[in-house]
């Protein structure tokens, strides 16, 4: 067991948690949150596993940095859509998925 592995496992759990949230929650904002959690989980796994040997590997760092930027763009975009949807329909859930306060 190394810290890297500990974090990788945490990341995997986070991923599962986010997945669960993404699938089960109906409120779109919460889906966005869940997606972000999943993303963070992924990044943790990436860096954590890469570091099992103990020494620092610069490649995953670059990857995660890119990944964070991508995730933020996606989040911003999703939030914009959610807001528009809310303006249009007064709801922040997808039609046919029930209401979530």
């Amino acid at each position: 067991m190394t810290p890297g592995l500990l974090y990788a496992i945490t990341g995997a759990l986070l991923f599962c948690l986010g997945l669960y949230g993404l699938l089960l929650h109906t409120h779109l904002l919460r889906k966005v949150l869940a997606f972000n959690l999943m993303g963070s989980g992924c990044f943790l796994v990436l860096v954590g596993l890469a570091q099992r040997g103990g020494q620092v590997d610069p490649v995953p760092h670059a990857l995660v940095l890119t990944g964070i930027v991508v995730a933020v763009s996606a989040t911003a975009f999703a939030l914009m859509l959610v807001r528009q949807l809310y303006v249009e329909t007064g709801r922040a859930t997808l039609p046919g998925e029930g209401d979530d306060p």
């Binding site: 990788a8 990341g11 995997a12 991923f15 997945l19 993404l22 779109l28 889906k31 997606f35 999943m38 993303g39 989980g41 992924c42 990044f43 796994v45 990436l46 954590g48 596993l49 890469a50 099992r52 590997d57 610069p58 490649v59 995953p60 670059a62 990857l63 890119t66 990944g67 991508v70 763009s73 996606a74 975009f77 999703a78 859509l81 959610v82 528009q84 949807l85 249009e88 329909t89 997808l94 039609p95």
Partner: protein
């Protein structure tokens, strides 16, 4: 070869394929739709030229490599193009060009053009980048960018339905790419590299490999809308403006399929086992039958075409059980890729012409389209040509694909896929003729038609001709596909 061809083949086309659409996107974003409309034809023409040039290079010199900015792996970005890549790029460029012509007429004096042009440039650029990428993480980034551009295009139409479709699409796309990313993380953790070339053959059977395969396949299957994960596709593809639908249905889902193909036959190959491949095939079969069945139920023209995509995607996935085991592997591989190509052209033509039909009739209800044959004869002819390809009837690209897939199924003795394909072909005929028969019905009393701009039908017609032509020039296409293909050494 003539000097012009020599010159074309000598240039380095890869940076052009990436740079030109992105620069166009930026310009269109910065300076608005007016400029974009003026620029777009030369820009996409250049794209087609570049794709052709690259294809020629690949054909003459074998797979091409290019290190972006002079940096090599692992930190820099390495690009790679073999026959499959070249074909996909050509497909993207050709369909992109046709869609561009169409859109210039379709979005005339339409506010949506402001968003459409930059997003399209972005989409094409991301797609080209994806096809050229040779490492897992680049693929992730391009996949994500592609998804975002595609969702942006879906969201162009205002209204709650379009927004909901866009959001559904976005969430599905994000989920898909995250699953894929987790797989990437595991692969990197295990092997310490992301370059596909270095990873080929490294993955050994075991729980880790299976987890990786499951995660990546699941993620990409969501993005390709494989049954039963297609829920996001029909509203997004059916509800978007026609040129957007064409881009999405023809090209975007092919990108994730392409990636899956690469992964299965390069990265996963050593760890693949029979049940997994059969399972994927089973989902494909489910897609063919269920998608066709749903298409039969649709009342809206564009929804029918969208569900047809759900069904047609199924054929793509029959490739996996068929190509995983010799004999027949090469035929299956060729057939699957061929299906992707011909479906792209046929479906793009079909969505474009559906847009023209909706424009002409003022609505999209299939049962009220009677008389469209007189109003839009070339349009319905285009629809028929595209249908021929989708039904897999000769002489079309779809037929070549079906032939190859059937050949593979017979060679490997997997007769159950034959039944599925035959049934699928008949079902597709059933739903497509629901539209085609409208051409023979009299015009309803209350119908009013207006003439769509000639370009709407014209560009769709050209695409449908290409879909047909793919059946006639299969030899050349397959030769290009063999360059660097995983089965290139295996003769049937």
């Amino acid at each position: 070869m003539s000097p012009v061809l020599n010159w074309v083949a000598a240039l380095d086309w890869i940076p052009w394929l990436l740079g030109v659409p992105l620069v166009f996107a930026l310009l269109a974003f910065q300076f608005g739709a007016r400029l974009a409309e003026r620029l777009v034809v030369p820009v996409f023409g250049l794209g087609l030229l570049a794709a052709t040039g690259l294809a020629l290079q690949v054909l003459r010199e074998g797979p091409q490599q290019h290190a972006l900015g002079g940096w090599g792996a692992p930190l820099g970005i390495e690009l790679y193009a073999d026959g499959l890549t070249a074909l996909m790029l050509l497909m993207t460029a050709a369909i992109g060009l046709a869609v561009v012509f169409y859109s210039r007429a379709y979005f005339r004096d339409d506010g949506r053009a402001t968003g459409f042009w930059p997003l399209t440039g972005f989409l094409i650029g991301a797609m080209n980048a994806l096809y050229l990428s040779a490492d897992l993480f680049n693929l992730y980034v391009t996949l994500e960018l592609l998804g975002l551009a595609a969702v942006g295009l879906v969201a162009l139409s205002s209204g709650s339905a379009a927004l909901a479709a866009a959001l559904r699409y976005l969430l599905a796309a994000l989920l898909g790419s995250l699953l894929y990313l987790l797989g990437v993380a595991l692969v990197y953790g295990a092997h310490g590299t992301l370059a596909l070339a270095q990873l080929t053959g490294l993955l050994q059977p075991g729980p880790l490999a299976w987890l990786v395969i499951a995660l990546m396949t699941l993620g990409l299957a969501i993005k390709t809308a494989l049954f039963p994960l297609y829920f996001w596709l029909p509203p997004a593809h059916g509800g978007a403006p026609a040129p957007v639908s064409a881009l999405l249905s023809a090209l975007v889902i092919k990108a994730s399929f392409y990636l899956l193909l690469r992964l299965w036959f390069e990265l996963f190959a050593p760890a693949i086992n029979l049940p997994a491949a059969q399972f994927i095939g089973l989902l494909g079969a489910g897609a063919i039958l269920w998608g066709s069945w749903l298409a039969l139920q649709q009342r809206e023209l564009k929804m029918l075409v969208a569900y047809s995509t759900v069904a047609q995607v199924g054929y793509l996935f029959l490739l996996f059980p068929l190509a995983s085991f010799a004999p027949g592997a090469e035929a299956a591989w060729n057939g699957g890729v061929y299906h992707a190509l011909s479906h792209a052209f046929a479906k793009a033509a079909m969505f474009l012409v559906a847009g023209a039909m909706v424009f002409a009739a003022g609505h999209g209800e299939i049962s009220r389209l009677g008389g469209i044959g007189q109003q839009l004869p070339l349009g319905i002819f285009t629809f028929a040509l595209a249908s021929v390809s989708l039904m897999g009837l000769p002489p079309s690209g779809g037929f070549v694909a079906k032939w190859l897939l059937l050949e593979a199924a017979l060679a490997s003795g997997q007769w159950w896929w034959i039944l599925v394909m035959m049934l699928g072909g008949l079902l597709s005929a059933a739903y497509l003729f629901r539209v085609l028969r409208q051409a023979f019905l009299p015009t309803p009393e209350d119908a009013s038609f207006r003439r769509p701009p000639a370009m709407l039908v014209g560009s769709a017609f050209l695409l449908s001709l290409v879909a047909l032509g793919l059946g006639l020039w299969a030899n050349g296409t397959l030769t290009l596909l063999r360059v660097g293909a995983p089965f290139a050494g295996v003769t049937p």
